[in-house]
Symmetry: C2
Subunit: 428 residues, 2 copies
């Protein structure tokens, strides 16, 4: 038997015998959920925070205990390699992963599932003695949720971060990224050095909870993702005039909060009516200054987020919202500033990765549905440098970014199994 | 000459010879403005804060240097007495004063003027050797602006504070009054003991800036205040549902902020249309939870303030706003809680004090105008236990509760002179 035939036989065997250890996966999910756990359930684990740093240390331990090579890059991304201890163009890897940071008062699966299922897959492949052609790496990307900057770690890895930008990245409460990273022992200015060499990634596949109700309501176990929405975040600062809230005649007030309130209501209407069905919008950050009951608000700041699977629609909505803000402030005799915080363009997933996920579903006898992702994900950065794709499992009740976010245990196991077979296919 | 005739002659002499020292008053205003001064002008000096406590110490020094008896009661109120070192029914005093706390980013005259002009009047009366029949006291009332509880010091002094209430008083940022007072060396639970004995105050008169545009625009130097508006503050908590801001379909979102925004716009309309002209409203405190750009707001808290010179109108508006909130949340499938934070009823000023202010204006050849106060003041508590009234000087441009609040130097001097003659009349 020549060597390549022998390899091919081994591979076929591994497809049959390799399977994920569901109880190990569930206990790791429960273990990670303890970092930043909230009394009533759910978790707050912002990137670079003390609970996050403790979770990172725990993850590295798990990676190493699983027999993988563990390392952390200059953007804080954590990696676990099977047959790889670094990235190089000479040996392109098949990469899987997600993130272990969370939104404030978020759930225990958003991000964590993709990282821990990826780790489980690599551990299972190693244990089964399967020898795929390409090395495999599992990743946990820094600050996917964007306390300081959305998809930070994967942006750095994919070469979309410049050193100047890191200096100005700031959380909504004013904390600077450079300070948060320094506290965790990292130098933000060096984060761009985390860029992977060209050609170092053969393919990327990310398992995630859907975070919406489409799979759950359709009763379908897996979604093959065909595209990921673009997300645009703009900070709008309405500048009115602080005044005494008793003595200033009503008609003379230039109330910054009322302008923000009017904009919020009308921007929602505009996006719903003119967004073509797939566009959504949110205002989740609101700050009113100086913030006293007896002072007319002199300044109101909001963060306006819009998402659309269609790049042109997103651009048009952004222009229309800016015109709306102008109209609101002009009528109210005030002014506003708009500061673009972040912007991603919608991306298409790789046909090769989609085909691998579909093949895995077929092999496991699981139905699937093709969906676009209404949330941003690290995969959209990886799609800029490699074949990249995603699969979703159902979120019970479509709930996410809230403490009661959950998925059924069986759904998690099915997702991990599909990921395993997808990785084996991609790794060859 | 019998003693009373001699006293009467001295008094007449004092009326002619006693006058305020304008430069001393202006330099004290400038000195007090340094405590909590902001780089661009104006001041942030919340009650019990370190700059406030430093200002209190400075004021006590000034009182004692002016030859008055200085003391502080259990509610943190500061007093300077001429012929009085405490309050007793046996020797009712004529009281004047205001407050030295400010709103965040407030001006240097709101409150400070009344305290420092009162101090100047007592110092001038003492220096002139005038011997009014009744003792005189100048006061600086604690937390008039209500970081923890509006008109706190004068409420305690007038017996309108119970010990149970102090335990729950909390600033909008969550700081408890008991902790803030403890830091400053006071026991909040003992504040109700600051209550003055019945009959201890013969009359109270407070000089203040108008804080609105009416005097400035009419070109009239003095307002004699006939009534003070009631102020009602309610904390409204809108309970929606936190959800993922990308994946949750727009029509399923239960966005607490949008409910608060709709309420804010409609409550303003309601008060303007149905408030009978004299009513005003403000929403100056807005907090959105959990406060992330990619999470639909699950909770929004606002402080809704309404003011009216008419008690019945204020009650009716409060009921109508509650019905409005119910309507807003019902349509949006969410719910709300309303927590009454504070409520004062409109009060009428004493005819005796009004007459004394008018007589002082006549004596000094100054025109006046009768106005109601659109702001709440400590005088409204004093009106519950004694003859109480107020006079205003113009605020340039009607600006107040903002860093560029100001009044002309001559307007300040005129106000202090009218206060001096009013005090001499009331003290007999």
């Amino acid at each position: 038997m020549d060597p390549s035939a022998r390899k091919s036989r081994l591979y076929s065997v591994s497809l049959v015998t390799t399977s994920v250890n569901a109880s190990r996966l569930h206990s790791r999910i429960a273990a990670l959920a303890r970092f930043g756990a909230l009394p009533g359930g759910g978790v707050t684990r912002s990137c670079w925070s003390p609970p996050y740093e403790a979770a990172r240390a725990w993850l590295l331990d798990e990676i190493r205990s699983a027999g993988l090579h563990g390392w952390v890059d200059l953007a804080g991304n954590v990696f676990g390699g099977l047959g790889a201890a670094a990235f190089s163009a000479a040996t392109p890897v098949v990469l899987t992963g997600s993130h272990i940071d969370t939104v404030p008062e978020g759930g225990i699966l958003d991000g964590a599932l993709g990282v821990l299922a990826g780790l489980e897959c690599l551990q299972a492949i190693r244990a089964a003695g399967a020898a795929p052609r390409r090395p495999l790496v599992v990743s946990a990307w820094s600050d996917e949720e964007g306390r300081y900057a959305s998809l930070f770690g994967s942006r750095a890895f994919c070469g979309r971060l410049d050193a100047a930008a890191t200096a100005t990245m700031t959380a909504v409460d004013g904390e600077r990224l450079v300070d948060a990273m320094a506290r965790a022992g990292f130098d933000a200015h060096r984060a761009p050095e985390a860029r992977a060499p060209d050609g170092a990634v053969h393919a990327y596949v990310e398992l995630h909870i859907e975070q919406g109700p489409r799979l759950d309501e359709a009763g379908v176990p897996i979604a093959v993702v065909d595209s990921i929405v673009g997300v645009r975040r703009t900070r709008l600062i309405f500048h009115g005039q602080a005044d005494h809230a008793g003595t200033t005649p009503m008609e003379r007030r230039r109330d910054a909060f009322l302008a923000a309130a009017e904009y919020a209501l009308k921007a929602r209407e505009l996006v719903v009516e003119r967004g073509g069905g797939g566009s959504v919008t949110n205002i989740g950050v609101v700050q009113v200054h100086p913030g006293a009951s007896n002072i007319v608000p002199g300044r109101a700041e909001i963060v306006h987020e819009m998402r659309s699977p269609d790049a042109e629609t997103l651009e048009r909505l952004a222009r229309e919202c800016e015109a709306l803000a102008t109209d609101v402030v002009d009528r109210r005799g005030i002014r506003f500033d708009a500061v673009r915080m972040s912007q991603t363009t919608p991306v298409a997933c790789s046909p090769k990765v989609r085909a691998a996920v579909e093949a895995a579903c077929k092999r496991l006898g699981l139905g699937w549905k093709t969906l676009y992702s209404a949330a941003g994900h690290d995969a959209q950065n990886l799609a800029l440098i490699a074949d990249a794709g995603m699969l979703f499992i159902p979120s019970r009740g479509g709930k996410s970014h809230r403490v009661d976010e959950t998925s059924d245990a069986e759904a998690i196991e099915r997702g991990a199994s599909v990921l395993l077979h997808t990785l084996l296919t991609l790794a060859g």
